[in-house]
Amino acid sequence: MTRITIDPITRIEGHLRVDVDVDGGRVKKAWSSGQMWRGVELILLGRDPRDAWAITQRICGVCTTVHAITSVRAVENALQMEVPLNAQFIRNLIILAHSVHDHIVHFYHLSALDWVDVTSALKADPDKAAILGESLSSWSLNNKHEMRKTHERLKNFVNGGQLGIFSNGYWGHPAMKLSPEVNLMAVAHYLQALEIQRHANKIVSILGGKTPHIQNVAVGGVANPIATDSQAVLTVERLLAIKTFIDGLNDFVKNVYLVDVAAVGAFYADWTKIGAGVTNYLAVPDIPLDTKGTQFAMPGGFIEAGNLGSYKPITKFGDEYWTKGVEESVKHSWYNYDAKGPLHPYQGETKPNYTDFKEDAKYSWLKSPTFYGKVAQVGPLARVLNMLAAGHEPTKKYATATLDTVSTLAKTKVGLDAMHSTIGRHAARAISCAVQVDMLADQWSLLLSNIGKGDTKTFNKPTFPKGEQMGVGFHEAPRGALSHWVVIADGKIKNYQCVVPSTWNACPRNEKDEPGPYEASLMNTPIAETEKPLEVLRTIHSFDPCIACAIHLTDKENDTTISVKAF
């Protein structure tokens, strides 16, 4: 038995440590441990609920906007407020642009190099790579010129004595299986994605005032005055610029991202049978279409044991089915509760009790959330499966198209079952991204037509009554269901708890000692080389952990430490 510990060195975002016991070339046991205490809840106590969003968006450098949005939704829910239509549409545009950005960057820049061997791309024939690319899609930059240029650039980079950002990959690892031409095409798209992701960022920055920390949200709406005749505000001209960026994203997502994911899925078909783990899937509805949050463009709900027929929808902001279902256990977390057993977030406590890593007792700063007592996976896969279960037509369209492409390339029928896997999470992220690019265009049209009707309202002023109010805000963030739970007493925050997507997925064992989604997904994963556990990274990265971080690998048996860049 070999114990492998994978521990990121960064202190600010990721802080994820994964330990696996490997025996006979397979993972037999796994532990996922959050290595940093998130104490933001304590900072919020006693503060004005209208300020919470600006503070919570500092929880994480990757997910700034999502915490801002969720926080104002929580306070609005506590105050039973309605939000003007324009504000919903503007928030929706920010949410969707952020999500599209996040998905593109995650696939190409934070995880593709788990599957793509950059050094192999050097051996490719660029012209053959172009022929392959042109056979797969109509993307204009799959041509010979572009592939030759990429090949040349890569060669210069390597000949310059350093691989730079590619320096610490698992190049030549036996689990790397793509042909040199596919690798070269992927590297070309990696570079193109660096340019394309700017389109999404520009949308957020036009609407949010600034990136990475948006400044336009407010409890009750958004701080974007709308006018058709002033430069300082949201003008028709700016709205038209947004449309141009949406069109650029659309081309790339449909003709490159979706196709690449299908190709990786087909060439790594064995990975459709690895990494399923927890198949209870939880997603919250999002992209509200009315002022109250009772109609949504993206459905959400809960599916048990991978059975789409078990789908039960969450139907509105503050839906009791959602609100009553969530609990968090600290049996294996570095906290103590005064009460016994798991607690509902409204009663949630944040009392640290660090014990060092005790694999049979406490070993993580993450709490362990459950939905009606059940461990649940969140994220794009949960989102896509719930949307399919809800009969969401656009999701059906892109899921079918993607699985068809995989089937054609793999020369075997690949069905929906393949989605319950490591590669399935990547496919779901791309499908979700395609659906969300279409929604961006829809929300843009809705905003324009609403302004066209003469409605320029963007804000309802909140009023805080005496006494106590409780509210929950939820948001289907790029990494999955995010919720903020606030208790307000006499206009001040009395309790605040954030239940974040990575908590759902990366949580330690729960009250019943059941493993969390990361832990469960690693079981029986084949490991070719214990000192280079690329396979562990593939599955963990498929969940999109919060940061692309350099990590230390420690093989305790041989007492060797290897520094590895995780992307």
Partner: protein, 162 residues
């Protein structure tokens, strides 16, 4: 001149936020000319790619763990900058290093990078800087502004107290 003054750090971890606080102070103290932007980068990474593309100058304000007495200001430039990231003197070495490496890859790297940082007293949870580090914010702002004067592109003071 196309330049960015980038404050990085996490404002909920006390002195960790000094770079962001300095950028806020700088925006109050100077009128930034066309082409020069002050950015509160927080702990972001790839979101900054666009803003940091094709710059003549990038001035990074940050916390620096250099084993010096708390409040010590350190300025790094040229060859020292990659060393700064490699030795992990900054808590953000990973994310900003990734952004710079990506910019290098697509040929949009800033022509010049200067890092000005302060040795923290503590990185405990909290929204306020310690008095020792807070007292250095005006100096940090002045040093950032001096980078522009030294390049013949002095920032125009607004007359506000830093």
């Amino acid at each position: 001149m196309h330049a960015v003054i980038l404050g990085i750090g996490n404002i909920i971890l006390s002195d960790e936020g000094v770079g962001v606080r300095a950028v806020e102070a700088l925006e109050k103290a100077y009128r930034l000319p066309e082409g020069v932007a002050a950015i509160d980068g927080g702990t972001s990474s790839m979101e900054l790619l666009d803003d940091l593309s094709d710059l003549d100058l990038l001035v990074v304000l940050d916390t620096i763990m250099a084993g010096k007495p708390p409040g010590t200001i350190i300025r790094l430039t040229g060859e020292e900058v990659p060393v700064f990231f490699r030795r992990k003197l900054s808590p953000h070495q990973i994310s900003l290093a990734d952004v710079l490496a990506s910019l290098e890859l697509i040929g949009h790297l800033p022509k010049e990078v200067v890092v000005i940082g302060v040795q923290p007293v503590t990185l405990e949870l909290g929204l306020d800087l310690t008095p020792t580090v807070a007292a250095q914010v005006p100096q940090l702002v002045a040093l950032a502004a001096a980078e522009f004067s030294a390049r013949g592109c002095a920032l125009e003071p607004l007359g506000a107290v830093v």
